[in-house]
Each structure stands twice: as C-alpha cells, then as structure tokens.
C-alpha cells in the first residue's frame, strides 16, 4: 500500500537531517503504530505522506505510484479535533466531500450513515461547542473517514483526552477499523495504546533515522483490554519502553 524509498528530509531551519535514506512500508488493511520520543519526526512522516512537505531525496509510493501523480490517497486526522466552530457537525463532516465536489445528496447520505454508525446521529445540526472532547474526536474521525481515502493518518488523536475517555476511544477505533476496512497509521507516545491497537509497532530510535524497528504484536483481533495483562504483552511493553528510553 504505502512505501518510503530512500527518503531523506530536513526542515529548512534545522541544522541536521531528520531522516536519511529512510525505508518503510505498510500493507493494505493493516493497523500500524509509530512511536518515538517527542520531536523525533513522527508527525513529519505524515506531513511527507500528505504532501505538506516534500522529501529532498527518494520517493514515496502508494500502490507503486509516486504520490505526486495521485490524489485522495490519504486522509489526515490531527491531535486537536480542528472542527470549524462556525459549521454544524453535518457541515463539518461534509467539508472534505464538499471540497471534492461530491454531489450534495450523496454527501448527506454518507454523513448520516457514518453519524449513525458512530452513534451521534442526533448531533447532526449541533455545533462543535455543544459536544464533549470524546464526541468531537469521533466527529473528527468521521470527517477523516469521509475524505474518501483508503489510508488514514491519525496523529496522536486521543492524547488530549482524559484516561477513561481515551480507553473508550481506543476500543471504539478498533471497532471502526474492523467495520470500515481502512489502512490506519497511528502516531502515539503511549506504548500501551500502540500495543492495544496495532498489528505492528514501529519505533523511531535514532536521530537522524534511516529505518524504524518493526515489532509484531502477538494478539489476534478482535482484542479485549484484558489481553494487555498477558505476560508476553506486559514484557513487550517493558521492552518497548526500554527501547524508547535508550
């Protein structure tokens, strides 16, 4: 699905390269997480994928095609919900479709389908300020989903939520993923979150980095919270924390 080939990148004002000959790939339909110290370049990987930055060297491919040649291959969901306060929930969700000139009728149909799916149908005509933090993230996710991309880029989407809401949202996200069959790249600094959600965890350890260590989580889907108590999982968690602190 996604492939980074020898990508080198450096921000103009930085002294050092952030990534150098970086190779990385994700298979279609997988749920993967990227973890690493704050500031190591996780968000930058997403900025490269969605074209907000361009690599100085190497290329990024989607299904074998360079990203410059294709459109709507990825949809980005930021940490803050970034819902537009002047729009209703419905208009917020429809925004990406509106920009892609999807017919009004179809926008509405899809919007109501997804609102029903996430259990927030009665909020269609409310404004973002009338919703709780968790609800706003669900709406933001719905908007990302309806951007019409195969691959979702979620950048620490739950890190601003309180612990209990976050746990709920993680379980909810897994359900959504199983239901919608998207490829999900998930950035987090929470090791437990990464393990609970993803099939593979990628760790950024070096600076500049040329690769990420890929670790498979030995759990089947659907997953339950109790799975996190298994000894091999507890050990994996300790191991990951150790790697991050090196």
């Amino acid at each position: 699905m996604l492939e980074f080939q020898n990508v080198s990148f450096q921000y103009a004002q930085d002294k050092q390269e952030m990534m150098k000959d970086f190779n990385f790939s994700v298979d279609k339909g997988d749920f993967i997480s990227i973890i690493g110290k704050s500031g190591c370049g996780k968000s930058t990987i997403f900025r490269l994928i969605n074209g907000l930055e361009s690599p100085q060297k190497g290329q990024i491919l989607i299904d074998g095609k360079p990203i410059q040649q294709i459109k709507q291959y990825s949809a980005f969901m930021p940490q803050k919900d970034l819902l537009f306060p002047w729009n209703t929930i419905e208009k917020n969700i429809c925004l990406p479709m509106e920009l892609q000139k999807v017919p009004k009728k179809e926008q509405q149909k899809k919007c109501y389908e997804v609102l029903k799916e996430i259990g927030l149908l009665e909020y269609a005509h409310k404004y973002p300020k009338e919703l709780s933090g968790g609800m706003k993230q669900r709406i933001s996710f719905a908007r990302t989903l309806l951007a019409g991309a195969e691959m979702l880029l979620l950048d620490e989407p739950f890190s601003a939520l309180d612990y209990l809401t976050r746990v709920d949202m993680q379980e909810w996200l897994l359900q959504q993923w199983l239901h919608f069959h998207k490829t999900i790249l998930f950035i987090t600094h929470d090791v437990e979150e990464a393990i609970f959600l993803s099939k593979f965890v990628f760790i950024i350890k070096d600076s500049p980095f040329c690769c990420m260590e890929k670790i498979e989580v030995p759990l089947q889907y659907p997953r339950k919270r109790e799975d996190l108590k298994r000894t091999e999982i507890v050990e994996l968690k300790e191991q990951l924390i150790k790697k991050l602190r090196q």
Partner: protein, 247 residues
Amino acid sequence: MKKNMPALALGIFLVLLWQFIAMGIDAAYILPSPLQILVKLWQLKEILLLVHLPATMGVTFLGLLISVVLGVFLSVIMDSNKNIENALYPIIIASQTIPTTAIAPLFVLWFGYSIWSKVLVTILITFFPIAITVYDGLKSTKREMEELLITYGANKKDIFIKLKFPTALPYFFSAIKMAIPMSIIGAAIAEWLGAQSGLGYFSKRMMTQLDGAGVFAPVVLLSFVAMISVAIINMIEKKLITWRKEI
C-alpha cells in the same frame, strides 16, 4: 442588563453633577447645562434633523462605505501576497501617524466645499483601522486548520471561503464598530473646517454666536446616532457570529 446597572448609575450621576456645576457657574456660553442643551435640541429639532443631520450622515456613510471596501480589499490582497504585504503594511502603519485633521484644510483647497473634501477626511480617519484590523483577522487563521484543508485538496479560494472569511468576520465587526464613531467625528471635523451644512458646520456657527447650548446640541445628536448605529451592528453581529469565544 444587571451588568450595566453600575455604568448607568455612574452616567446619571455624572450628568447630574454636570447639571449642578453648570447651574453654579451660570454662564451658558461657557458651560451649558444638560437641560439647556436638551431644550435647545428641541427648539432646533427641525433644522437639525431635516437639514444638518442628513448632510453629516451622507458624508459619514459615503466615507465609511469607501473605507470598508478599500480596507477589506487591501487587507485581502496583503494577506494573499507576501510582496504586496511587504510593500503596503509599513506604509499603512506609518500613515497612521499623519495628523489628518491638520492636513484636512488642504482638502478644502482641493475640493472646495463639495462633499468630497469631507468624505476624504472621513476616509483618511477610518480606512487604516479597518484595513489593519481585518488584516489581523485574516492573519489569525490557524495554520493547522489551513493545512488540514490543504490535505483535503483545498485551493486558495476554498481556503479563503471556508476558513479565512469566517475567521476574519468577528474582526470585521470590531472594525466597523470602531469606525462608526470615528467616521462621524471625521465628518464633523471636516464640516468645522469648511462646509455649508451639516452638524459640524452648525456647531461652529453657534460657536461664533457664543451659544454654548447650540454648540453642544448637534454634538449630543451625533453621539446618539453613533450609539444607535453601534447597537444595531452589535445586534447583527450577535445573530451572525456564535463562535467568537472559541477561536
């Protein structure tokens, strides 16, 4: 309403204080009392409301309209192009230090007693705050939101309509509310300097006749009109903008 009580009480107290001091001095050509001004306003109501108020409002409205169009236009092109911004912004800031009232007589020289000399003064006074405030509004657009729109495939026009316009709208209303009293002051000052009608002109004529209450009456009328206009804009703003606090 409850919140405004102290202000109302203080206002009434100040007017009363003024009344007593004026009665103490007892020289209406130096300090007319509020009561005397009201009486004067009533005596002159026809000529003030039918001749001079429309003249001043014409200048104010025309000046404000041109300022808004020009100010919004300049702020939009400054926001959309870095070179234009670099060229215009310092000039706009620097031009705010020009003492408009001091050069206003020059406009009378150029345009005579026609409406345009007065409109020009009004524009010079209100144009800069409008341009700068609306420009600040456009610049206050959140970069993350702009980038999110770009990832959805938005072009410059989409970004303006979907993001910049609503972000700048509250600033636009602030600018208008600030500009209304300023444009009225501008029109009145311009009329002082040279005119054949208008409340500023009338006030000046009363001055030459040492009629204190007559000087104040048009001023009171102008303040009243300014307050009503700002209140109307406030109402429109409340209806239109429900999100101000969240930005």
